[in-house]
Amino acid sequence: MTTPLELSSGHGDNESIVLTAAGEIDMSNVARFRDALSQAGADGTGLIVDLTKVDYLDSAGLTALLPYAPRIRIIATAVLAPVLAISGLDPVTTVVTGP
């Protein structure tokens, strides 16, 4: 059984695409996360990755995020902030109060 992860995408403000994830991202399900990122970011426009409902993210998820680093914005709670910061993603990350 892979780790449950719900992924959905839609359009946010300024025509940017928003990819929303809910659950946990690890090695077992990172492929789906990578695919979703790839789809959402295919047109090269601004991409917002909403991780506020993700309560676990490790290097597998980070590896998926990093190629998009120059053009994404990440929204996450304080729980993921340290991991994102260590990976150098903190400039593009907005930390919000958790749900």
């Binding site: 449950p4 690890d26 090695m27 676990y56």
Partner: protein, 741 residues
């Protein structure tokens, strides 16, 4: 007039009657002698002496020298019989003696001769040169005015020599005349042994143990001063009185002699009276000392226990015969210096040797104490000995230690037997101990080498996942207490399995304990722990409170729900109290042996134990348990049984799962649940989750590639302020442990 008055001291008759035949002649002379002290003898005086044969002597009145009847006695008659009067001391010709007949009991024929000698002081009395029976002059009056001797029968000299009641004098002088003169002076009342130099005197003093040594100062081989020095240096003769005689007049010589340790000092020429007076005083002193020493020796010898005296360095200086019997080393080998010959062999039995050496150091360094150690008899057999000793500070000898030894080999062997029995019993009662995670326990019986006593602990997993912890303490700590403990401990388990309530369990134990001999007043502490939440329910029966040490150093005592020891009050209801163990806190349950010390309040002991648990907050439970058992122990070890149970909340998490990505989430969920119970910050929890997740993912990858179907082990443990995660893949190499603080 004791001699010539109403009753003759020896004959029981007035002198006038005894000497009726010649009284007219001698009466005035005697009175004159006794009143004036002037001699009555003159060269031309012929004494009308009435004597008789020895035929009809009364019984019990031994034969003396009897001169013939009816003839005048001259000095020649006397000296023929008795030899010449001592030269030098008597006027020559003698003018100060007279010889009188001595009449037997009830009158009749005289049975002896009386010689009266008078001068300014007591004089030597002539001694019979023929050495026949009964020649010992007996001075019946020795005052300064007159000396009178009755030459009657007296114990033969040989008998004198064997009479322990007669003081024994050792006389050392290289001058034969002086020896003979002194011997004559002394022989009437003293046993005399003569030697001719200091070395011979030394040997004789050691072997004969005389009452007094009279020694000339100037002697060959070893002089008088050297003799005194040597005698004083030897404990066997240090007390022996010594009277020095010297030709050297003057204070210096006297001081030299007295400095050397002589008791008295006489400068030649001296009068016989002076010598005898000094001798009498010295002998009396010696006899008193001797009596004291004999009394002491008799007392010591009468002790059934082995007795010893040690000097301040621990050397054994004195022992009694019981000591010699016990260890096979007698007083002849004294002093015994360390290492004592009865210590076990250091090479073949180093432990026993160290114990014996330890006892020696205790005696040397402590004021009082006791010990039980193995010794080796001179014939090689091993014995166990209990010693008790006390320090005595003596004015003469400084610090000495007196002590007794008792052979406890039999008790020791019995205890050894007990211990083996107890070990079997203990294994039967306690069974193999597999503690649940998060627990550590120790048990230290008071009676070594007994491995079981009256204390116990038990940790019982309950069907609902909770854990019951019991610590109990039966009265006493011997084998008997251990059997009671076994029954109580066994009774607790089914009660707890049936009804997991500390209060009701203790109430049931009240009833049970009342039916078990010697089980009354057992104290118990029972707690039921929910390991998931750290929630405790507990109740105590006369037992000291549990201690919960928080990670910040605070301490809570589990001191509610306390009541009497078991069976003390059957009608009492047992309360229960609840306590939530804070995350990363450590719980200590114990028996009072851990905290009870003479001269210290129980409260102080509990505080100290609490502080020890706090300071060991970062140690593993096993290390902490060891520290508690060693650091809290009093210097001589625990005097009572000690049982402790430690629990740190939460217990470490141990997971083992297949190296498969599908395991990631459930493992993470378990770890998250465990981390939550550790009371850590969200940040730390997340860091730990990520770190563990990375390590597990790594292991899964390698597991798949190198060891399909391999297992991964994850262990998470927490101390007061430290979290330790260990992820290892089996059978692949273990990952290094990761730590966060």
């Amino acid at each position: 007039m004791p001699l010539l008055g109403d009753k003759h001291p020896a004959l029981g008759l007035p002198g006038q009657q005894v000497w009726s035949e010649i009284w007219d002649t001698i009466g005035p002379m005697l009175h004159s002698v006794l009143s004036t002290g002037q001699a009555t003898w003159s060269e031309d005086l012929l004494l009308p002496l009435a004597t008789s044969s020895t035929a009809d002597l009364s019984p019990g009145w031994p034969v003396g020298h009897v001169l013939r009847t009816g003839q005048p006695v001259t000095l020649t008659d006397v000296t023929d019989r008795f030899g010449p009067l001592p030269s030098g001391d008597w006027p020559d010709p003698p003018t100060e003696a007279m010889v009188l007949p001595l009449q037997g009991d009830g009158g009749g024929a005289p049975v002896g001769v009386i010689v009266l000698a008078a001068s300014a002081g007591p004089r030597p009395i002539p001694t019979c040169k023929r050495r026949c029976a009964g020649c010992l002059p007996r001075t019946t009056r020795g005052s300064a005015d007159v000396a009178a001797s009755v030459l009657v029968s007296a114990p033969a000299r040989t008998r004198v020599a064997h009479d322990p009641g007669v003081p024994h004098i050792l006389l050392a002088d290289d001058n034969a005349d002086m020896r003979e003169y002194l011997q004559r002076l002394l022989l009437p009342r003293y046993q005399v042994t003569t030697v001719t130099d200091g070395l011979a005197a030394l040997d004789a003093a050691r072997s004969l143990r005389p009452d007094l040594v009279i020694s000339d100062v100037m002697m060959p081989r070893l002089d008088g001063i050297g003799l005194v020095n040597t005698l004083r240096a030897d404990p066997r003769t240090a007390d022996l009185p010594v009277l020095l005689l010297s030709a050297r007049a003057g204070q210096d010589a006297a001081i030299e002699g007295l400095d050397a340790g002589a008791d008295d000092y006489l400068v030649k020429p001296f009068s016989a009276a002076e010598l005898l007076a000094r001798v009498r005083a010295s002998v009396q002193l010696s006899r008193m000392r001797g009596q004291h020493a004999r009394w002491r020796a008799a007392l010591i010898e009468s002790l059934h226990e082995a007795f010893f005296v040690c000097g301040s360095s621990g050397d054994v200086l004195e022992i009694n015969s019981a000591f010699a019997d016990m260890l096979g080393y007698d007083a002849g080998g004294l002093p015994y210096r360390a290492p004592h010959p009865w210590w076990p062999d250091a090479e073949s039995d180093p432990d026993a040797f160290r114990m014996a050496e330890g006892a020696y150091l205790t005696i040397r360094d402590q004021h009082a104490g006791s010990f039980t150690v193995p010794f080796t008899h001179s014939d090689g057999h091993r014995l166990w000995v209990t010693g008790v000793f006390n320090e005595v500070v003596d004015q003469e000898n400084g610090r000495v230690v007196v002590g007794t030894l008792r052979d406890v080999t039999a008790e020791h062997d019995a205890r050894q037997q007990d211990s083996e029995t107890a070990l079997i019993l203990q294994r039967a009662i306690l069974g193999p101990v597999q503690l649940p995670a998060g627990f550590s326990a120790r048990y230290e019986p008071a009676t070594r080498p007994l491995e079981v006593g009256g204390d116990w602990h038990d940790i019982v997993g309950l069907p609902d996942g909770r854990i019951a912890i019991v610590v109990g303490d039966c009265v006493g700590h011997d084998l008997g207490a251990a059997t009671v403990m076994g029954q109580l401990r066994s009774a607790c388990r089914p009660l707890l399995l049936q009804d997991a309530s500390p209060g009701r369990m203790l109430a049931a134990m009240d009833k049970f304990a009342a039916s078990v001999p010697e089980a009354e007043f057992t104290t118990m502490f029972c707690a039921i722990l929910d390991p998931a939440s750290g929630q405790l329910t507990y109740s105590a029966a006369g037992h000291p409170p549990g201690i919960a040490a928080h990670p910040d150093g605070a301490i809570d005592l589990l001191d509610r729900a306390r009541s009497y020891p078991l069976a003390a009050s059957l009608h009492a209801e047992r309360d229960e109290a609840s306590y939530a163990l804070p995350p990363r806190s450590t719980l200590l349950l114990y028996t009072d042996g851990l905290v009870e010390r003479r001269g210290r309040s129980l409260t102080d002991g509990i505080v100290e134990a609490g502080a020890a648990v706090v300071s060991g907050g970062e140690d593993s439970l096993e290390d902490l348990a060891n520290q508690l058992m060693t650091h809290l122990a009093p210097p001589g070890g625990y005097g009572d049984d000690v049982a402790i149970v430690l629990y740190r909340h939460p217990a470490p998490l141990d997971l083992s799962f297949p190296a498969d990505t599908r395991q990631l989430r459930p493992v993470r969920a378990q770890l998250r649940g465990w981390l939550d119970s550790c009371g850590l910050s969200t940040r730390l929890v997340q860091d730990a989750l990520v770190a563990a997740g990375e390590a597990v993912a790594n292991a899964v990858e390698h597991g798949h590639r190198d060891h399909p179907g391999g297992q991964i082990q994850l262990r998470a443990a927490v101390t007061a302020n430290r979290l330790c995660l260990t992820i290892a893949s089996r059978p692949a190499r273990p990952a290094p442990p990761s730590r966060w603080t």
